[in-house]
Amino acid sequence: MYTLGIDIGSATSKCILLRDGKKIAGSSVVAAGTGTDGPEQALKMVLEAAGADRKDILYVIATGYGRKKFQGADGEMSELSCHARGVHFVFPDVRTVIDIGGQDAKVLALNEKGRMMNFAMNDKCAAGTGRFLEVMAGILKMDISELEREAEKSADPASISSTCTVFAESEVISQLSAGTALPDLVAGICQSVAVRAAALARRVGVREAVCMSGGVAKNAGVRTAMEKELGVKILFSDMAQLMGALGASLYAYDAVRDRETSVQ
């Protein structure tokens, strides 16, 4: 029996197809988010990957900013609960999740059952989110996926003190022209994102184990900076970007189970 979780963000769409509430039968990530055909594409891809058919799916839960606009869902849940659930499935010991996505950053406090007990999210500002990294990568004429390798080479990260993305942009440009080495600059940019998200984490309270999820977690530069900033080890899974979709697919499984027990 299949259930589907679809996480429709501002810049990406992600799907997880779950078999019997336990096994991940397929996953997909498409770099197009809400308001595009990204969600449909992601759905098509995940079905292909699993060799399944749309009608095999018993229940669909949508999450993420585009959750309400997706027509094919049976239910929707916030990405907050879904991320918590997804992370708990992969790392049952995690009590704090730091999730940095395209346009928001959130920190979730989990109990031992993986249920979200509290959360904090970024304010309206883009600092400390994936968008900040994108803008900075753009200035440096780099692909966002290259930032990590560059940051690794740094011995002395530059300090980017402006929180405002526009101010930070000019700070980076002036550091570039002053001759700051590229690795130091990139490491400084990663650090700036980590510092912002760490402040959010402290608001919720950092309890170990700590895990990073969301697209930005793929960047080891940010993860390393976060470990330094919080003084804790940061767990990370290759599925970081898929935790929301995974959680949604698990909630979809619960819904099927609840439906069945209420029928019996």
Partner: protein
Amino acid sequence: MGEEGKKSRPAPDPNSAKFKLGRIAAKAYTDAAEAKARGEMVGWCASNFPVEIPETLGLYVCYPENQAAGIAARGGGERMCSISEGEGYSNDICAYARISLAYMKAKEAPEQDMPLPDFVLCCNNICNCMIKWYENIAKELDIPMILIDIPFNPDYEVSDAQVEYIKAQFWDAIHQLEDYTGKKWSEERFREVMETSGRSSRAWIDATSQAKHIPSPFNGFDLLNHMAVMVTARGKEEAAEAMETLLKEYRENHEKGISTFRAEEKYRIMFEGIACWPWLRVTSQGLKSRGINMVTTIYADAFGYIYEDFDGMCRAYADVPNAMNLEHARDKRIRLCRDNHVEGILVHTNRSCKLWSGFMPEMSRQIGEACGIPVASFDGDQADPRNFSEAQYDTRVQGLMEIMEGNKGGAE
């Protein structure tokens, strides 16, 4: 149920509290406009200025904060903010101030007009931004400003020394107003005003405390509207009478098992901060559609102006929400949460109100911890519509709801 199972918008009943309160709020503006037309002096007054003073003297005053809220709720916030920004005011300044300063220039706003002032009455027990805002009005219109300085109180209680400091200023304000307007202070009239204000306050506190019932007999968004009367008219006989009607209605609602919250009440929260007036429908719908009733707010407590004499009045004005220390403010909210069976807190991080939003992260953390309930916050603004994102609001409210649902034992 059945026939009572209600059309959504019943015709206004002139004997209802809602009708009476709406009329009092509107009358405050028309009374002032008529007084101005008769050639009387009218003032602009800060919401936490001792309203007993103009009321006892028989002076008509209008409330710029109230006007700004009205303008913002009716869609004029951005236009007015842009006018004052065009005058050079930063968009970081409180949007009530920006709207009011714009009104002073434009002298009209179809959403809510009010007569221009002959004097301004300012009190900084609410914030210090107010001082500069009122000073600018006084300077530009070349009119006197009366300022009562009630600094933030770092201690839990109000000391006698503070009362003395404030009392001297109250008398000074009274004498200045007597000189300027020719009106005379009367002890007898003051006693009447004090008693009426006490009556209004008692009825208000009692009415808002009806949220102790499950389900609550009212939708907390009602309070955001009704409090306008507590701010502007609590010393007036008709206000006391309307508040007593409100209390009676809420009690009756409870007895009949009905509520002005027109949905099933699944969750109960405290809302913290000023309403997001430009987005009132969106913010209230986001709650109602999920069965979340905002059963209480600090406003339920804030207008407890119950005192016995002039000294008591001075003490009461030093003990208002934005002037009291964090622990005291926290304890008041903890009590509201406990008395009203609150399951979660939604904090409006209001870009306009630096003071209130500044102490909120820590205070709400402490309240959440003490009551064992989740806290979520969203970014917004009481009057500038540009500082709010519907999608962000929605996610946070849904997250809060999902935690509250889990806490009920629904999820594992």
